[in-house]
């Protein structure tokens, strides 16, 4: 899906990090699917783009795993929308994924530094 009209270089979300991003987004309160997509885009200043084809399967998978729960609500413009919220299990999973992510980030950052001291 190439979109030449968009000004910013988009980065595809790495497999496995989508769950973390969704859970993180829901920390600020329940949200429907479209809202989550918008928030990811806005929160990353248009760098991260989440595909609808990835978002909804991921939401439904998380729902089945018990990390999120969903209810039907009526939105501000009186539309029935399905709203997702974080469950207790979801919070635990978010904490775990976050610490994994932090470790990964540190590790990758470490790799980016030239290994000067390791020279004999």
């Amino acid at each position: 899906m190439t979109k030449k009209d968009l000004p910013v270089t988009r980065i595809e979300i790495l497999q496995g990090t989508l769950d973390l991003i969704i859970l993180q987004t829901l920390r600020w309160g329940p949200r429907h699917g479209y809202g989550i997509a918008q928030m990811i885009r806005a929160g990353s200043r248009d760098v991260l783009q989440v595909d609808t084809g990835s978002l909804y399967p991921a939401l439904h998978r998380l729902e089945r795993q018990g990390a999120v729960a969903a209810d039907w609500e009526v939105s501000e413009n009186s539309q029935r929308v399905r709203v997702y919220r974080l469950t207790a299990a979801g919070r635990k999973q978010l904490a775990a994924e976050r610490s994994k992510w932090d470790q990964l980030a540190v590790a990758i950052a470490g790799l980016m530094v030239p290994p000067a001291e390791s020279e004999p």
């Binding site: 899906m1 429907h32 084809g53 439904h60 413009n77």
Partner: protein, 880 residues
């Protein structure tokens, strides 16, 4: 889709909710675009474009629900059908290839089922039936009636023993005598095999004893409807058979054809009528007269080995009790498919080869479809990537691909069963005609259905999994990026496709060699000399016993007719024989005692012999080495004489001249007056064996074959013969007039069938392999268009490109041929006795197979190569 109706209501509600959720998403995206100033029409279109493929998203999302098994299957099926429907070319070709492969296998299985495993329609418990055969001096033969009665007495492991000896009678139909087959059976026959006559009754115990005492007959449904027009009052009426009026006591049910592989039986008479229907005298009280063929039914849970042990012990007792007739005779049990006394044995090896060959065709078809699927999986890379990236398991992905394959193979299996159904009577049509209608039906029952289903599953795994596994190993990171990349399909996949083509070429080559060997063998058989003339000799059967002639009248009629035939213009000689060489009827055989010859401890000399008239040797062109042929003076009042063949002379009179020596046959002293050169008696494949001739006048027979040496055509001879017979007896008719060549060719039936089947399958294999090679080559050319264009831009001539592509194809072919040749060298000896005087490694045949394969390969590679040579370098480079 109707399938969704099967799902529980909660699921249907959830599907509706998903629809609503996604629709809400679209509406919100649209509203936001409008709020940013887009026109409502643009906003709707852009939102939808950004959203992506709605159907696919729903599909993948639903997969996250932890779906019901049934729903998953329904989804896979629905999706698979849709994907197949979208590429009709691929689908048609794949189903076509698989239909040929599965059809070939289903057809062969249905023949094996209908001819070998469960050959007898309506007969109960065929899996417990075993055939009984006597074994003397390494050869299988018939049992005598007294032996049969004793074996029946002394058995605990058997439920029943039945006798069925094939016989025949002639029913006059207008000018042409019609031969029908029937069986001489024991009284328990119908009861034991579980077949109840639809009218009247089967036989009663008393009806199997007493010399010609019970002239009763059960007729087939076919005879009842065709000859007696379904007359409900048929019981009690009489039919003249072999000169004896027989009372019709029963009509067999429709579809029951007796118990003999090869022919449909039309009538059944009790064993007491043996003398009337089985020539060679009264045999019911003669332990030395071996004539019956017999089946036994094992008790449930008794193994064949246990039964064999019991029957061997009984045969041993008989040997001790009656050494003069039973010395060296053991009795063996055979499963139905190895029955030595009907066509099962001959067809067993042929069908076994057909099975292997059909399996090869299936393998080749699978390789083709695998290749097609591999190509397709590139086109579907994007879809696979999305599915994987949202966490659809690789197992799920493979299961989707396998479901699609399963749909293909299930359709092909249905088509294959239709093919098998269409081929059900092919064998009887391929076999040379034999004067009586052949009956070799295929049977498509649940076992054949099950095996075809199994073949369908197995092929799915074979052709479906091979491409599915690399597809599920898609490297996500690289494939998301490389959507528009230049190099499509890694080396690995190209190698896989090449390996599949290699396999196809190798198997096709193997089949070509097999077909070539069979062609050569059949040619050799056609041109081999059987030791008598096959040219300019016509034969026709004349049945006097059916017409009720007694012995003196037979003699008078036979010599009168012979005189008249010899007087027909163009006839150079004529003679009778009871059995013509290469006939399906068996020669007489009886124990003989040779003066001056001491038989070994387990030896009972009993060579086969034929009853012939004077001039037989001259008419047939069988030379005498010494002595004299029979003359008219060798009649019933003269001392018995015989002509022995060279093998008999060498075996029983090794150090002296047999002429003038005497042996004893059926209590008569027979003097040897001549020695004949060796010839073949029953088949070209037989080894040389002792054989002798006795004069027909001294051993009268009611059914004789007239042999006529003439250059007249069979048609002209038939009308002349019919004229002469009618002038002697208006109620008589001659049988079909055949050339001796036709008679000999009938015996190469197994080879003809094998050749036809292997030939057909080989043709299929070659077509499939050519398609496969063509597919791989054209795909390779289309994928490397850029490289080819570059070469051309750098100065390569069109002929260079042509050569480059051809070389690639021919290297593949050469590899396949090498593999195939290695396989052929190791396996063609399995053709065994289907090969006549042809080495299984015949270099000519291998050479021819190579030429054919190379021609097919050239044809398959040329078109893609030509296309490569015409590539426009500018376009090829720009397009990428």
């Amino acid at each position: 889709m109707k399938l969704s109706a099967l799902l529980p209501s909660s699921r249907r509600r959830r599907e509706a909710e998903l629809d609503e959720e996604l629709a809400a998403h679209l509406r919100m995206a649209e509203a936001e675009r409008v709020a940013h100033g887009e026109s409502p029409a643009d906003a709707a279109a852009n939102a939808r474009r950004e959203f992506g493929n709605m159907g696919l998203i729903k599909q993948i999302t639903r997969e996250m629900w932890g779906i019901l098994w049934l729903e998953r299957v329904a989804q896979d099926l629905r999706f698979g059908l849709r994907m197949l429907w979208r590429s009709p070319g691929f689908t048609t070709l794949a189903i076509f290839c698989l239909t040929l492969g599965i059809g070939a296998n289903a057809a062969v299985f249905s023949w094996i089922e209908g001819i070998l495993l469960r050959p007898y329609a309506l007969v109960a418990d065929q899996d417990r039936m075993v055939a009984l055969a006597a074994k003397t001096g390494g050869e299988y033969g018939s049992l005598s009636w007294p032996d049969f009665l004793d074996l029946r007495q002394s058995s605990g492991h058997f439920e029943s023993f039945t006798v069925d000896k094939i016989t025949g009678t002639t029913l006059a139909v207008g000018d042409r005598a019609e031969r029908v087959s029937g069986q001489i059976v024991s009284a328990n026959y119908f009861e034991a095999i579980g077949v109840r006559p639809i009218l009247g009754r089967g036989f009663e115990t008393a009806e199997e004893s007493g010399r010609n005492a019970h002239s009763v007959v059960v007729i087939s449904y076919k005879m009842w409807t065709e000859r007696f027009h379904g007359d409900l009052g048929i019981l009690g009426k009489t039919q003249l058979m072999n000169g004896v009026p027989h009372t019709i006591i029963g009509v067999a049910p429709e579809g029951f054809n007796g118990t003999f592989v090869g022919y449909a039986m039309q009538f059944w008479v009790p064993a007491s009528m043996q003398e009337t229907f089985d020539l060679g005298g009264y045999k019911l009280e003669d332990r030395g007269a071996r004539w019956i063929e017999s089946y036994a039914k094992l008790k449930p849970s008794v193994t064949r080995a246990q039964a064999q042990a019991e029957i061997s012990a009984a045969a041993k007792r008989l040997e001790l009790q009656y050494p003069e007739t039973n010395k060296g005779q053991s009795v063996e049990l055979f499963p139905l498919w190895k029955t030595p006394f009907n066509n099962a044995g001959a067809l067993f090896s042929t069908l076994r080869i057909a099975l292997v060959v059909a399996f090869f065709v299936l393998l080749i078809a699978c390789a083709n479809v695998s290749n097609l699927l591999l190509v397709r999986s590139f086109a579907r890379r994007q879809e696979m990537t999305i599915r994987l990236s949202v966490g659809a398991g690789r197992v799920r992905l493979v299961s989707q691909l396998v479901t699609e394959s399963l749909i293909l193979s299930a359709m092909a299996a249905a088509g294959g069963l239709l093919v098998a159904y269409g081929c059900r009577n092919l064998l009887a049509r391929v076999l040379p005609p034999r004067g009586v209608p052949l009956y070799l039906p295929a049977s498509i029952d649940w076992r054949v259905l099950a095996i075809s289903g199994g073949a369908c599953l197995a092929t799915t795994l074979l052709f479906g999994l091979v491409p599915a596994i690399p597809a599920s190993k898609i490297d996500l990171a690289s494939s998301i990026k490389s959507e528009s990349g230049g190099v499509v399909g890694g080396r690995g996949r190209t190698r896989l496709r090449s390996a599949l083509v290699l396999l196809q070429v190798a198997l096709s080559f193997l089949l070509l060699v097999g077909a070539g060997l069979l062609v050569k063998s059949l040619q050799r058989m056609r041109s081999a000399s059987p030791g008598f003339s096959t040219e300019n000799v016509l034969i026709s059967g004349i049945d006097l016993s059916s017409a009720g002639y007694d012995v003196p009248r037979r003699r008078a009629f036979q010599s009168e007719l012979l005189d008249r035939v010899q007087a027909i213009g163009g006839v150079r000689g004529a003679a009778y024989a009871r059995i013509t060489p290469f006939s399906y009827r068996t020669y007489s055989s009886a124990p003989i005692v040779i003066e001056g010859y001491v038989a070994g401890p387990n030896e009972q000399p009993a060579p086969e012999y034929d009853e012939v008239s004077p001039e037989f040797f001259a008419t047939m062109g069988i030379p005498l080495v010494s002595g004299r042929p029979f003359v008219r003076a060798d009649d019933e009042s003269a001392p018995p004489v015989a002509v022995v063949n060279e093998a008999m002379a060498a075996k029983y009179w090794p150090r002296s001249n047999p002429l003038g020596r005497v042996f004893h046959l059926k209590g008569r002293a027979v003097q040897v007056v001549g020695i004949s050169k060796m010839s073949k008696y029953g088949s070209l494949l037989e080894s040389s064996k002792p054989f002798f001739y006795v004069p027909l006048r001294q051993n009268p027979a009611g059914v004789v074959i007239l042999h006529i040496r003439t250059s007249l055509a069979p048609g002209a001879m038939a009308s002349a013969l019919s004229r002469e017979i009618h002038s002697l007896d208006p109620g008589l008719a001659a049988g079909e007039v055949l050339t001796m060549r036709q008679q000999v060719d009938r015996k190469s039936g197994a080879q003809t069938v094998a050749l036809t089947l292997v030939g057909i399958f080989c043709g299929l294999a070659l077509v499939l392999a050519t398609i496969g090679l063509y597919g791989v080559m054209s795909y390779a050319v289309s994928q490397s268009a850029r490289e080819l264009g570059l070469r051309m831009a750098l100065g390569a001539a069109a002929s260079d490109l042509l050569r480059l592509v051809m070389r690639h194809g021919l290297v593949l072919t050469a590899g396949g041929v090498l593999l195939g040749a290695a396989a052929a060298l190791g396996s063609t000896r399995l053709l065994g006795d289907l090969l006549y005087k042809v080495s299984p490694r015949d270099p000519m045949v291998f050479g021819c197979a190579f030429v054919v394969m190379a021609a097919a390969a050239l044809a398959a590679c040329f078109l893609p190569a030509w296309r490569a040579a015409r590539i426009d370098p500018v376009r090829a480079l720009r397009d990428r």
